[in-house]
Symmetry: C2
Subunit: 270 residues, 2 copies
């Protein structure tokens, strides 16, 4: 049996499309992203991501669950193409080509539709330069049960392939939102969320958080830190103390320390 029932030019068009989605401008224009790997595929499915095209390489695919889910999705009318191992490897950026991937719609949510649970921390990212740092932040946020991540400004893209890889599947369970300073401030006020900025110069220590039903931590660019606009938006600023010669710590580590400080507090008060 030939592994590719779709017309050859349709397959080749899709593969070209997938390659283009590695570029930010194409992802932004099409509002799609390419995901691959069994874990990502299953998590995208379980979180009701909107699938557009499934790409399966039957020779490579080793997961019965992923195979079953792909068949079920195809049964609902979603386009599915079968490719050869060579074709799959050409579009894959993973170390081990899993044989399963998909083009999905970018799962953005609208801030105004989110009524945040006050038990979960939120993160607000102004601008993270490194997609690896961004992915690490998303991974920790998901692991800690954070509610979601709000992106202020256009720079960050959680659907960058490097960020996706570092996030280790973390993006599918988080609410991801693009917004502005004004809308974030209004949303936080409405829901009693305290906006806490992180800055190495803040006089207040990271453990000295004002009491509030909910917290969102605002993180800025790796070198410059938070902009004046973001600082003005925050209800309080805190710092992680530095006793060595360093002038800062990695932004992904800082996010993790803050998120686990909230986990610790929830544990102490529960």
């Amino acid at each position: 049996m030939h592994p590719n029932p779709a017309p050859r030019d349709q397959v080749s068009k899709t593969l070209t499309h997938i390659k283009l989605l590695a570029q930010r401008c194409h992802r932004d224009r099409e509002k799609r992203l390419w995901i691959e790997g069994i874990r990502n595929f299953i998590q995208a499915h379980d979180n009701r991501c909107e699938f557009e095209t499934l790409v399966v390489c039957p020779i490579l695919l080793q997961s019965d669950i992923a195979d079953m889910l792909a068949r079920r999705l195809a049964g609902t009318g979603i386009r599915k193409i079968s490719v050869t191992p060579e074709q799959f490897r050409k579009i894959s950026t993973a170390q081990h080509a899993s044989g399963i991937g998909a083009i999905i719609k970018q799962p953005w949510r609208q801030l105004e539709h989110i009524g945040p649970s006050r038990k979960n921390s939120w993160l607000i990212l102004e601008e993270i330069r490194s997609p690896g740092n961004l992915g690490t932040i998303l991974r920790t946020a998901e692991a800690c049960g954070a509610g979601g991540v709000i992106f202020i400004g256009p720079r960050c893209d959680p659907f960058d392939p490097v960020a996706l890889r570092a996030a280790m599947g973390g993006i599918f369970h988080l609410s991801l939102v693009k917004s502005t300073h004004d809308r974030v401030r209004a949303w936080a006020s409405r829901h009693g969320i305290l906006l806490i900025g992180l800055s190495p110069e803040a006089p207040r220590l990271w453990t000295n958080l004002p009491a509030a039903p909910g917290h969102a931590f605002v993180l800025g660019e790796e070198r410059k830190g938070l902009s004046d606009r973001s600082r003005a938006m925050c209800h309080a600023m805190v710092r992680l103390p530095i006793t060595g010669w360093a002038d800062s710590i990695n932004v992904g580590v800082a996010a993790g320390v803050m998120l686990y400080e909230m986990v610790r507090r929830a544990q102490v008060t529960s």
Copy 2:
């Protein structure tokens, strides 16, 4: 004035040598490393690293302090070569070529010569696959005032150029040690240091640390975690709780959360 007073073949030999030091096998054999940048240079000087060769590009170098230190070192008999901007850029891996660098001896210390202060945490790394993660760990350790980092097993190299860059100068203030399970266990017993392993499966939470004068956190490889041998070496195992779908968090983040938990405790009890 010609910027290069050294004979041309001597300069070219040194530049070749520096390029080779980007490779692990050469670093290991020569027990040297190449550092560059004003911050690294000054910090290596202030921490009494042993300089072997100074490389200065007078046209690029913008720091009077670094220039003065380089002259002073040269005055003590350390070889100094001047290079052109083109030559410097060829050996530089930094985004902006600073015009200053040096070959220094790898600043390893002997575990048996270290009487650890019990106020400072230590890290024990079995095997960290990513040099970026390793550098982030060193950066946080230095920022938190950790005593040092002990490497068990041959895999990790804190002098990898990627690790050095991620460490942001962090390596020069830490005691760096290569050792074995048996020697670490003996050292820890002698100095009352509790060895705490991190593992996602540990029943004990990260905040529930046994009381001890000093703590060292033992971290394992990104995917496999700690080996049986390292687990057996630990006095206790703890985990960072994961409430999301992730099965782990980034090892650099985990190290940061543990180190800041110790900073928090020191703050509460002081």
